[in-house]
Symmetry: C2
Subunit: 339 residues, 2 copies
């Protein structure tokens, strides 16, 4: 049976929250790699919040996906054909491209990985871009020190899971924030955070109780009311690692102000010598991927870092799963098993 | 004639903007230095915005001045008597203490200075704490690079003057913001900034015109509507050096939120990888003072840095001058000639 390429295209730009009609599912011939390219068969597709930005044509740090083009995303899979030196059929690779079964990619960002080291899907999560994001943001901005208090929003998500566990390895008291009792129980019970607060309940009261000595490092994944509750509790020399603000991605995608709620008055930034800094992992992260992977594999082997995935079966279900991701419906790193 | 000590005390904590009745002027005997202390006769007193914070008992980075105590401030003058090694009567020193004619001080923060190097009052401005503030904030946070655009608020003030001129030395395009045509003319004509915008006029339109390529470094001295106009114009990897927010010192002195207006939505901090960082010069500045002074004296000799002072005659006029400082009434570094 001749295989076909299954692709998910951006049909139109969403108005607010994406809906299924914003996507189009097509079957096309398997592409032929050009000279210098590698043909990759995806086994796993990563779904991540940043993709909401790519669906919008608002000015951002990366080009938007064009209407009618394949949705952007990273996959893990195997090499089917190679016209590039250093890659051969059967190689297991991280870095295939897009919401599709087959992709032709340049080898520059393709990492050959050892499938014995960890389950392949982990290279899209704890060992992939989300894990690298956590590691880079803490190395460069958060700089947690033993004895400090770290608060992590979206604590059960792909990045938050890793942030908090690195915080524990660094000797911090780590307090997660997540949506609902089930996620909070996982964060404390399975991931070993010291506490996890449910943002559906009174966050001020919970933070008062969980962080009586204030907050030294805040990992920002969400924005909105969670940010408003955390900000006044930052200690002198506190750091806010600005990784994302998913709470407003559907309000003002990439825009500066239109519809976005105001933020905190910045007076305390002077008085407390706060550092509020944003970063995008692709700026400086990938050249450091081998170093990160080596360290993280060590932590996984030692049982010091665990992870949870939310597996979606079948590429056709990716749009619905992605819509759910923006609503917090997933529980753990969201990955699609590509059929 | 036996001299007396003239002192200005904090009589009560201001409600909002300070008024003359918040201060008390007293004459007392000249104090006797204890063992290990130096008696300094002030010739110049520095008046600076941070003093508003010390009048309040809201939580801050430094202890408030107690009711009935001498107002905090730095002076330059000469040693009258010394019971500390390394200082002798007649030495010219920076680091005397308080709104008073005579003070007994520990030698740890007293700098002996050469009165031939520059006029003594300059050691309270361009060669003193405000100059050091500019230098440290740019070294540690602003990190201006040649070809970048720097915007400086309160550009004709003690710190702003120096910030912009260092920016020019570093090869930046420097745009000041000040209140009124007279100050703006001084900033461009005397200090050599590329442009200076009057915040009483339409700042958005002026910024569009003066900074067509966006803003890479913003030196924040004021907050409020100036901050709101600058923030959306920050470029990718822009830095906000948070030195002060004088526009709200009388609204919410030191407080986190009470009465303070909201700030910008922080979504762009992620997308643009902004760094917003506050600092207080006394944290790390003074050990670097000799290095700073050496470099700044070189710039002064070469005519690359100029400065302007607003001189108030007589210590009894300090309260009124300070009240004016918080209203932007001064024009240049505000210093009191101590009689």
């Amino acid at each position: 049976m001749a295989e076909t390429n299954l692709q998910i295209l951006l049909r139109r730009r969403p108005q607010g929250a994406p809906v299924p009609e914003d996507f189009e599912i097509v079957e096309t011939p398997v592409p032929e790699p050009a000279e210098g390219e590698v043909l990759v068969r995806a086994r796993w597709l990563s779904l991540d919040p940043y993709m909401r930005g790519r669906m919008s044509d608002a000015k951002s740090y990366a080009k938007p996906v064009e209407i009618g083009a394949v949705m952007e995303g990273q996959t893990a899979g195997e090499v089917v054909a190679s016209r590039a030196p250093g890659f051969a059929p059967g190689d297991t690779v991280l870095g295939g491209y897009g919401w599709q079964r087959f992709s032709c990619v340049q080898p520059a960002r393709l990492f050959r990985i050892d499938p014995q080291e960890a389950p392949l899907s982990a290279s899209l999560g704890v060992l992939g871009m989300p894990g690298l994001t956590a590691w880079v943001g803490l190395e460069d901005i958060g700089q947690p020190k033993a004895g400090e208090t770290m608060v992590v929003s979206a604590a059960s998500g792909a990045v938050g899971q890793v942030v908090g566990q690195i915080g524990k390895i660094r000797g911090c008291k780590v307090v997660g924030i997540a949506g609902g009792r089930k996620k909070c129980d996982f964060v404390t019970g399975e991931l070993g955070f010291d506490a996890c607060l449910d943002h559906h309940e009174d966050l001020d009261a919970q933070l008062d109780k969980a962080c009586p000595e204030g907050i030294d490092v805040y990992w920002e994944n969400v924005g909105g009311p969670v940010q408003a509750a955390v900000f006044p509790r930052l200690n002198d020399f506190g750091r806010m690692v600005m990784c994302g603000m998913i709470a407003q991605y559907n309000i003002a995608p990439g825009a500066d102000a239109s519809g976005a709620p105001p933020g905190p008055n910045l007076g305390p930034v002077v008085r407390k010598r706060l550092r509020i800094q944003g970063f995008i992992v692709s700026d400086t992260g990938w050249p450091r991927y081998p170093e990160f992977r080596r360290q993280m594999l060590g932590w996984l082997r030692e049982g010091r870092v665990r992870w949870r995935e939310d597996v979606v079966e079948g590429l056709r279900n990716a749009p619905d799963a992605f819509i759910g991701l923006l609503q917090g419906r997933n529980f753990g790193k969201l990955v699609v098993k590509v059929d």
